[in-house]
């Protein structure tokens, strides 16, 4: 694969491909293309989004890009190795980067990569603080409904990841700090949550109930219908009077603040639709993860968002020599009958286990490819140990690049 010669980015679209083989995803071409400004790593929980984001960012940095990676809840040791132990919402340089051997034109300055860990509540609070005077902001920050919204509303984390991405992108455009932003996404059940979050939040804030609570303040007695009385009395009965008061405060705040929110979310959403963005869908070779990946691919297409490809992560590595599971088990059994004390039967059974896993994974991948034959794919083998340092990330980077 020669990344420098092939600048054309193969995204969604009919590509020459054999029956069941997905086209190869060329990660280095993607990273080297100066037009690539944002890479978003999506996928369902635990598939390797954080690892992949960090590995891509590191590889891009060591290929000469000015990169920042926005991670969400990285494992402690991985965070340490990237120098982002504190959760302070600020990008910090990853220590000890050097140009890898064989870099074509080695600049004198060392490669630079910044990393940060998203603090979603802080991000939300900052937006509130930037939109209201200090006294009012304080009142909102303490409101129990706001606290719930900013810490546990399904979608807030996704929304805040987008908000932060928007901020960093605007800053980078203005100051020329970064030419590539790699974004990790929160551990949600479904990759779709990332795209749905802004819409979810705004439609929620535009909801009937909130409108209703705002209405009496604006329009006169029109709303005081039978239904409303019935419903406030039911509400008071269930929740108590204090709750209603907190609710009124919250709703009033929503009205003044969230118009701005909605607009920002929309801007970021549009940013994601531009050609400078590339989505990578990460999946484990498991039915649930691949099903989610398929939904996500379809959704990107509907929303006209640019898909770069699929990463099947933590796959079982197999070797070309194909001794199949049954043969291996039969041979192990024959050896064991001979009663000689050796490791070979154990090795054969391990091999059989591995072949079974690999066969199953291959079938699952084929199913995905049959439904989405145009999606460029790369399979990343599981490393024997967890990925918690820069060398591990480099190794994942190499696997991502197919080398």
């Amino acid at each position: 694969m020669s990344p420098a010669t092939d600048r054309s980015r193969h995204r969604v679209g009919p590509l020459a491909s054999t029956a069941r083989e997905a086209p190869m995803l060329d990660v280095d071409a993607l990273l080297d293309d100066p037009e690539t400004r944002i890479i978003v790593c999506c996928g369902s929980g635990g598939v390797g989004k954080t690892t992949t984001s960090a590995a891509l960012a590191l590889r891009a940095a060591e290929r000469g890009r000015h990169v920042v990676v926005l991670t969400i809840d990285p494992a402690r040791r991985l965070a340490q190795s990237m120098g982002i132990e504190q959760l302070d919402n600020t990008p910090r340089p990853v220590p000890d980067l050097t140009w890898p051997k064989g870099t074509r034109k080695r600049p004198t300055k060392a490669p630079r990569m910044d990393a940060m860990m998203l603090d979603m509540k802080r991000t939300f609070d900052e937006v509130v603080e930037s939109q209201a005077n200090p006294e009012k902001a304080q009142q909102i920050l303490e409101n129990p409904f706001y606290v719930a919204l900013s810490s546990s509303f399904a979608g807030t984390q996704e929304y805040m990841a987008m908000e932060k991405l928007g901020q960093i992108y605007r800053d980078a455009e203005r100051d020329g700090t970064y030419d590539l932003i790699v974004v990790d996404t929160p551990p949600s059940r479904s990759a779709l949550d990332f795209l749905d979050a802004p819409e979810r939040l705004s439609s929620f804030l535009d909801g009937r109930f909130i409108k209703l609570l705002l209405a009496p303040a604006r329009g006169p007695a029109r709303m005081m219908t039978m239904g409303l009385q019935l419903f406030t009395s039911a509400l008071t009965k269930i929740l108590g009077a204090q709750v209603l008061q907190d609710l009124q405060t919250f709703v009033a705040a929503v009205d003044t603040l969230f118009g701005g929110f909605r607009q920002r979310a929309q801007q970021t959403y549009q940013l994601l639709q531009t050609g400078g963005t590339a989505f990578l869908v990460i999946a484990a070779p498991e039915p649930d993860a691949l099903r989610e990946a398929a939904y996500f691919v379809e959704r990107l297409d509907e929303d006209q968002m640019p898909l770069a490809g699929l990463v099947v992560n933590r796959a079982t590595a197999t070797s070309p020599e194909d001794l199949d599971a049954e043969e291996a088990l039969a041979a192990a059994a024959r050896l064991e009958r001979k009663k000689s004390r050796t490791v070979t039967p154990g090795l054969l059974r391990l091999h059989a286990d591995r072949m079974r896993l690999a066969e199953r994974e291959a079938r699952l991948r084929e199913r995905f490819t049959a439904a989405h034959p145009e999606v460029p794919t790369v399979v990343v083998a599981a490393l024997p140990t967890d990925v918690h340092d820069l060398d591990g990330l480099r190794q994942v980077g190499r696997l991502l690049a197919g080398s």
Binding site: F145, G207, F231, L239, A284, E321, K338, T342, P384
Partner: protein, 358 residues
């Protein structure tokens, strides 16, 4: 509204049984527990373990309810049945006990909206007002944003299934309820929500209900089990969750170690495999003796695979020590190479039974 199709029992409506139903003896290590809460880091196998545990508990004619609250229809997929409505359904026969008698697993998919309407109808007889609330978007509001309301409703319904009362006529009474719960990151918030309700609803019937739920959750009738893999992050989350659960006075149950790799090599061979000290000539000779035609590469490949496996096992052993240090009863389930289907669930259930969890 929920239809509760499966037959009713003859027990008196408001008997609250503290002791375990079918006597003790072969109940496993958690005989007195009526509510098993299964949590763990995302993707570690909560749903799988909850399902296997429900099957394992359902012997001797016992009825077990398997609940999910995350809106994902994972139960339906695992048991290969149509998506579950907000109603209890019998979905499988349990794993037969040593005497050959099985019980039944029922399932319930709890969603907050239905639980709210159910709750309003059951406790407030709010038929009309309930619908009015829905019309004004209150149901949506309450179940998505009003702090904790969603979790209050979900735990409230679970409570109702454990302690069936006279308001819910004709409902099945269960010997045990297994909850496929939210992940470790949210479990304490989820279970403890009823303790915090007082902050919001300082008085009124909600407070009364919340107190009853907390009493169940903090009693020895409830156990919160944690599913983990032998990997750094899941074990770390398990350790953190245990601390948080204990701080909130919730009863920590077992640690279930899931997806354990096969144990084919002894310690000595593992060490040799890691250090490259396995005897390749001997292996080559063995392969020939076993009648396998092979070239050099097969031996190299097997050694390579053994090396990776040994590295992984070393990580597992390190994490296994940490798990042991948590001081909770621990059960281990193998990673099934062919994936989890219904047969696989019974296989895991049998393992849990053998190890004494059920």
């Amino acid at each position: 509204m929920a239809s509760r199709a499966q037959g009713s029992t003859s027990r008196t409506p408001d008997s609250r049984r503290a002791e375990s139903p079918a006597g003790s003896g072969d109940d496993g290590d958690w005989g007195g527990v009526r509510l098993h809460v299964v949590t763990g880091k995302g993707g570690t196998g909560k749903s799988t373990v909850a399902a296997a545990l429900a099957l394992a508990l359902a012997s001797h004619g016992r009825r077990v309810l398997l609940c999910e609250v995350e809106g994902r229809q994972g139960i339906a997929r695992m048991f290969d049945v149509d998506p579950l409505p907000y109603a209890e359904r019998r979905i499988a026969t349990g794993l037969a006990g040593p005497d050959g008698r099985a019980g039944a697993v029922h399932a319930l998919h709890i969603d907050a909206e239905s639980a709210l309407m159910d709750y309003l109808a059951m406790y407030y007889k709010l038929g009309r007002a309930g619908r009015a609330l829905d019309r004004f978007g209150v149901v949506e509001f309450a179940t998505t944003i009003a702090p904790g309301v969603r979790d209050v409703l979900l735990t409230g319904k679970v409570y109702e299934a454990v302690n069936r009362n006279s308001r819910n006529r004709g409902a099945v009474r269960y010997d045990a309820v297994v909850l496929d719960a939210p992940p470790t990151g949210r479990i304490v918030q989820f279970l403890d929500v009823n303790a915090e309700v007082a902050v919001l609803a300082r008085m009124g019937p909600i407070k009364h209900q919340s107190d009853a739920v907390m009493e169940l959750l903090r009693s020895p009738q409830t156990a919160v089990h944690l599913v983990t893999l032998l990997e750094e992050m899941p074990v770390q989350e398990t350790a953190d969750a245990i601390e948080e659960l204990q701080a909130a006075d919730l009863t920590v149950g077992a640690v279930v170690v899931n997806q354990v790799r096969p144990d084919e090599l002894d310690d000595e061979s593992l060490a040799a495999a890691r250090s490259g000290g396995l005897d390749s000539d001997r292996i080559a000779a063995d392969l020939t003796a076993a009648g396998l035609e092979h070239g050099e590469t097969l031996v190299t490949d097997l050694l390579h695979e053994a090396h990776d496996h040994a590295e992984r096992r070393a990580v597992e052993d390190e994490q296994r020590l940490r798990v042991a240090g948590l001081g909770r009863p621990t059960y281990e389930l193998p990673r099934l190479a062919t994936g989890i289907d219904l047969g696989g669930l019974y296989e895991l259930a049998a393992r849990l039974r053998e190890e004494g969890m059920a």
